[in-house]
Amino acid sequence: MPPVIDKAKCIKCEICAQICPLDVIRVEKKDQEREIVVKYPYECWHCRACIKECSSNAITMRYPLSHMMFYMDVPTADRSDCKCK
């Protein structure tokens, strides 16, 4: 599931659920408790809005393999001696 919320860090401010452009994160009420749930992970756009707004750094993004980027190394692009990294 794309956004992963670390419950140990989450302060339940609900900003992620409020801000998500795709309504992926919802607040669910169970008895008197309000729980933040990544309810619609397949509708995530991976825009990182939730991560940017989270003041307690409780959210990380897992990029699904359905979004795999294809890449190819360039043999001539040897930057092993680069000191800038």
Partner: protein, 558 residues
């Protein structure tokens, strides 16, 4: 789940549907004119739409940088991504003349329009030509515009989805129907307004993109089905639906912002594939993507591909510059993905792909005041069909509508919408969807819609027989959907109504594609293989009238 109904009708002078760049700019300008404004946004205006997390290039004309030869400016823009045959030239000239004014406003609001202290123009450019895309840092743009709209008196209603515009018997837009998504139970909200602005994004989920298991893997924000469908049902004329727009970018992980990349398009050996660049160029980028956005798909089809974005020859300074620009553009997910999977742009090229058809800037036909063919119904931004220009389009026409609608609302009387027949009809439909025990999920419909559009109203080939079949299958899908769809909660109700919007628009796309009996651009008819010169200066339109659906070819410049 229940459908509640808010008893009180919410009244305002200008109702804005969609709090993206266009909607917020309209709210600011109208608010400054003293107009009462409500912005209804289905997400949260601080992070919604395709500008949610930023932009880093804004097409504009700044006389002190580009000189006074405005004719030359327009000519050069027409050679680039935002110009060409699908741009109404009168609209383009008005947009460009007003663009510097928006830049100045945004800078005064607190958006960093010149991070280096100077006006810098980069990307979407040809070597040796003037450049018109202002390099800026837009990562806070939505929060800033939201704050400014609030300061100017606009009321913002987040988590409110609008489904229909109400039009009275005189043919005037007088309100809208929507519902709140805040709780799982939907709460229907009725709006009464003197003027309504459609400022939604484009329809993104009509054609397949990326991976079929993740239909939200789209290059622009996948949230929208588009105000174009709402406008179409309300009687507004649509334009240019029939000639597909295609975009390009990272293959697999769809994302706009190709001009934010400053590498060279290369083949598998790292050799440039285009004539414009042999080394990376921060100022122009590789113009091949704008001139030939189909390059990636076509090179795959003919076996010469794949085609890569090659940043391996960027200097360390340019790599950092590009990474910062990804943040400004709001596409830093790309950076994070590469970090997580150990992809180093210093030694690896990223494959780019041609994205499938989208309805970017194919949609509602507006006049120079931003009004549609329905009185009191305005449209602005990427859901419009006769003006291009992405964020420039959205901000300038939002500003134009803010001004014009403020005059308009002074001239018309309020219309009591409480007995409007569409209100009961829609509430009954929502209740039926929300209370059905067994039925179809919206995703079933969306995936079948994509299959029909790809196979019968697609990009590679079009013909009378394919389009006739496609139109028939769309009608079947719509009929089944209306009777079989069901929803569990307000979120699913939103997605369900979005997919019905998509079908309405898809039918308009298919009908106009069938009606264009020639080949033009990406509209390739095997039964009409030539381009008809008599249609060179025409746009095709479609609208719902009392006598049925009417299609016509109008002069490009009204």
């Amino acid at each position: 789940m229940q459908v509640k109904i808010r008893k009180e009708i919410i009244k305002t002078e200008l109702l804005i549907i969609g709090g993206g760049i266009a909607g917020l700019q309209a709210a600011i300008t109208a608010g400054q004119e003293g107009t009462s404004v409500i912005v209804a946004e289905k997400a949260d205006t601080r992070r919604s739409g395709s500008g949610a997390n930023g932009n880093d290039h804004y097409m504009c004309y700044i006389p002190e940088c580009h000189g006074d030869d405005f004719k030359r400016v327009i000519s050069e823009i027409n050679e680039g991504m935002e110009g060409g045959p699908w741009q109404d030239q009168i609209m383009l000239r008005k947009m460009m003349k007003r663009s510097y004014g928006i830049i100045q406003k945004w800078e005064s609001y607190g958006i960093d329009m010149r991070p280096t202290g100077k006006w810098v123009f980069e990307g979407h450019a040809m070597p040796g030509r003037q450049r018109y895309h202002l390099k800026y840092d837009g990562q806070n743009q939505k929060a800033v515009l939201t704050q400014k709209a609030l300061e100017n008196g606009a009321q913002i209603m987040n988590k409110v989805f609008i489904n229909e515009v109400l039009v009275n018997e005189e043919g005037r837009a007088v309100g809208a129907i929507g519902f709140s998504l805040a709780e799982d139970d939907s709460e229907v909200i009725i709006f009464q307004a003197k003027a309504v602005l459609l400022a939604t994004a484009q329809a993104m989920r009509m054609y397949p993109h990326g991976n079929p298991t993740f239909i939200f893997n789209t290059h622009s924000c996948p949230a929208a089905a588009g105000g174009a469908a709402i406008g179409y049902r309300a009687g507004a004329r649509l334009v240019n639906l029939d000639v597909p727009y295609i975009h390009a970018g990272v293959k697999g992980f769809a994302r706009s912002g190709k001009a934010t990349w400053i590498g060279v398009l290369s083949d598998i050996h790292g050799k440039p594939v285009g004539p414009f660049l042999t080394k990376p160029n921060r100022e122009t980028g590789d113009a091949m993507m704008d001139i030939w956005p189909g390059i990636f798909g076509e090179r795959l089809d003919n076996g010469t591909g794949p085609t890569y974005m090659n940043c391996t020859e960027l200097s360390e300074e340019d790599l950092k510059y590009q990474e910062k620009a990804f943040e400004s553009e709001g596409i830093d997910s790309i950076t994070e993905y590469c970090e997580q999977r150990g992809i180093d742009l210093r030694k690896s090229m990223i494959e780019f792909g041609t994205y499938d058809y989208s309805l970017a800037q194919r949609g509602i036909d507006i006049n120079l005041d931003g009004m549609t063919t329905v009185q009191g119904l305005y449209a602005a931004g990427i859901c419009c069909g006769n003006v291009r220009g992405n964020i420039t389009n959205a901000s300038v026409w939002g500003d134009v509508v803010g001004e014009h609608s403020s005059e308009y609302v002074k001239q018309v009387e309020e219309f009591d919408i409480s007995e409007h027949p569409l209100i009961k009809e829609k509430i009954d439909f929502y209740m039926e969807l929300m209370t059905k025990k067994i039925g179809a999920h919206w995703l079933e419909v969306n995936s079948t819609l994509q299959r029909i559009m790809n196979d019968y109203v697609g990009l590679k080939v079009r013909s009378e027989t394919l389009l006739t079949a496609g139109i028939k299958y769309l009608a079947d899908l719509k009929r089944y959907s209306v009777s079989e769809l069901k929803c569990e909660n307000s979120h699913e109700l939103m997605r369900t109504l979005e997919v019905l919007d998509l079908i309405d628009l898809a039918e308009a796309v298919a009908l106009t594609a069938k009606n264009r009996q020639e080949t033009r651009g990406n509209h390739k008819r095997v039964d009409f293989t030539y381009t008809n010169p008599l249609l060179n200066d025409k746009f095709q339109t479609i609208e719902k009238t009392k006598d049925g659906i009417k299609m016509a070819f109008r002069d490009k410049e009204k």
